[in-house]
């Protein structure tokens, strides 16, 4: 049995690795053509894949467990919605606004806790409070965020004669954005910076003695993560056309954490694939057992935490 496991593992890591990648990429390219009715679901899955990666930069590489990723996702979504609905500006202006606001907010929120090195447990609780504030804030500032009604409705513009408001073109737009930023993150993590981050997670004190400003390194990861979460939120709001408080809710934060753990913390491919897989699985399960799919998701998550804490990628990579 374990020989067979090892064989499959070896196969997936060695000979089959490149073909599997190519197959995956091809699949992402042709999904909306094979199943046009599923293109909006596929768009959502891709966006959540990027969101999962961006959070994993903080959770898996920097080792900071945050409970507020949905705040940045929501900030991105609300920035775009606000720019279009209230200021009647272009959809594209929403993206730089989202990124800049996310960077500013992330800097304000993250500066002191990272500088003072408040420790894992306190960081969890700190971001829990921040996430709760962000959610409450969206509800009460009705004049700014539309309260529980949200900000809507709008659709993305035409580009070069192609209406992005259509499901299919928007899928390819999303694919382009997600591919670009995922590749960017991949390059970042494979660079020296990725090694510095991993080393900092494993032994921060030693890295400081080696002369690294670990606060700065963690801050960079935190900012990059926040900005890319905001971009994911901005692309997402374009596909559904309304920004609502559910995009900031703790439920979304919980989902991201589930995707990351199931995929494997500290890997980029794992959370990405797990997010896409689970979004599709959720759709299938919802049609079978509407009330119970989140229960099954929870059970799956618990099994992973206790039995396979390294996630699917840990299963494939084995002990290293």
């Amino acid at each position: 049995m374990s020989d067979r496991m090892a064989e499959i593992r070896e196969f997936a890591r060695g000979r089959a690795r490149r073909p599997l990648f190519v197959l995956g990429a091809l699949l992402l390219l042709v999904v909306p053509i094979l199943a046009p009715s599923q293109s909006s679901l596929a768009t959502e899955a891709l966006i959540f894949g990027l969101f999962a990666i961006s959070v994993d930069i903080v959770l898996g590489y920097a080792g900071l467990l945050t409970l507020a990723p949905a705040a940045f996702f929501g900030l991105g979504a609300y920035s775009v919605a606000k720019v279009i609905v209230d200021f009647e500006q272009s959809f594209w202006l929403g993206f730089p606004v989202a990124i800049i606001l996310a960077l500013i907010l992330a800097f304000i929120v993250g500066y002191v806790p990272i500088k003072r090195r408040i420790g894992d447990v306190y960081f969890v609780l700190f971001t829990l409070a921040f996430g709760a504030i962000a959610y409450d804030f969206t509800f009460v500032t009705t004049s700014v965020t539309g309260g529980s009604d949200g900000l809507g409705f709008f659709s993305p513009p035409e580009v070069l004669g192609i209406d992005l408001g259509d499901g299919l073109p928007y899928y390819y737009f999303t694919l382009l954005v997600v591919a670009a930023f995922s590749f960017g993150l991949y390059v970042l993590i494979k660079s020296d910076y990725g090694d510095v981050l991993t080393a900092t997670r494993q032994n921060e004190l030693r890295m400081r003695y080696l002369g690294y400003d670990t606060n700065r390194e963690l801050m960079i990861a935190w900012l990059v993560s926040a900005a890319i979460s905001a971009i994911a939120g901005a692309v997402y709001v374009g596909s559904i056309g309304i920004a609502s408080p559910s995009l900031i809710s703790f439920a979304l934060t919980g989902d991201v954490i589930i995707w990351i753990i199931v995929g494997g913390t500290g890997t980029l491919l794992g959370p990405f694939a797990a997010a896409i897989g689970l979004v599709f699985m959720q759709e299938v399960l919802q049609s079978i057992w509407l009330e119970g799919y989140r229960l099954l998701l929870g059970i799956l998550f618990v099994v992973f935490v206790f039995a396979l804490p390294d996630g699917l990628m840990g299963l494939i990579r084995g002990e290293e």
């Binding site: 504030i133 919980g254 618990v302």
Partner: protein, 295 residues
């Protein structure tokens, strides 16, 4: 501009009592969390689900027998047993890894809450008050059930306070929290202390859930709102400080009760959370936390 409403003496007493009963519920949740967090260092995210189970358990027994008091006792006992099983069989493995402990309890809480949602649906339930009459108190008529909640909270606070400061078990809990290896060498069965503390904390959550059921409506994720507040209460009060969670719960209860006179209730919540964030950063041991507890 906000107009500050005029408060009569009667209103003042009513609000103060509302704040007291609300503060007591928060205290029951926070003290359980504080015991578990202060001693074990576990961010127990399943605590809110235990609270929800306490509430729904009471509801089931009421449906079957029509007796609230029976429901209160049965649901607290059952949830306590569940806490014991969970601690012995599952959570025990996660104590050395705080982040994994958070993820594990988060997952367990999710499973319990979703199971409740599947069984009861996500709509909210209300339980009729078991003590519907009101009493005259300090010149106001006040619902006697809320007075009962205040009384229970006060008794629990006193009881656990005495347990922690006046008994052998309390001494062993303090010793284990401060220096677990040393306590072990001196003959304290620390695994047993962990279990007792976790089970006690869970029982308090279930009690809070059962007591709050007739006051507020119940829904599967009711626990999340409570534990977010409770986590922040124990930080401001001081990690592992029982006195701290009591005092801060009372303050938070009063702030919520009177705060809405000045501004929207959500702003009051935001204010409390923001205060807790400042505390985490600049005074992580809170008002009453001792530096040696939970290192």
């Amino acid at each position: 501009m906000y107009e500050i409403p005029l408060i009569t003496a009667d209103n003042f007493i009513t609000y103060a009592l509302n704040g007291l009963s609300r503060g007591m519920i928060i205290f029951l949740v926070a003290s359980g969390l504080s015991l578990i967090f202060g001693l074990i260092g576990l961010i127990n995210f399943a605590h809110g689900a235990m609270l929800a189970l306490g509430g729904y358990g009471t509801y089931i027994v009421i449906q079957a027998t029509g007796n609230f008091w029976l429901g209160l006792v049965i649901s607290v006992v059952l949830v306590t047993v569940l806490g014991y099983v969970l601690e012995r069989k599952v959570l025990y493995w996660l104590y050395d890894e705080p982040l994994l402990g958070f993820l594990g309890t988060f997952g367990l809480g999710l499973v319990i809450e979703e199971a409740l949602a599947v069984y009861f649906g996500s709509r909210s339930y209300t339980i009729p008050s078991p003590l519907p009459e009101s009493i005259e108190l300090l010149g106001v008529t006040y619902p006697s059930y809320r007075l009962f909640v205040i009384l229970v909270g006060a008794i629990v606070a006193l009881g656990i306070g005495l347990l922690l400061t006046r008994t052998r078990l309390g001494l062993e809990i303090h010793a284990t929290a401060n220096r677990q290896p040393t306590a072990e060498i001196l003959g304290v069965d620390t695994a047993r202390i962990y279990t007792i503390t976790f089970v006690l904390g869970t029982a308090l959550a279930a009690l809070a859930g059962a007591l709050t059921a007739p006051i507020t409506s119940m829904y599967p994720t009711i626990g999340l709102d409570y534990i977010t507040m409770a986590f922040l209460v124990i930080i401001v009060g001081g990690m592992g400080s029982f006195k701290g969670s009591f005092v801060v719960s009372m303050i938070v209860g009063q702030v919520i009760a009177f705060g809405w006179l000045l501004t929207a209730p959500t702003y009051v919540r935001i204010l409390i959370f923001a205060a807790a964030m400042v505390f985490i950063l600049y005074k992580p041991r809170g008002f009453f936390g001792k530096p040696e507890v939970h290192e």
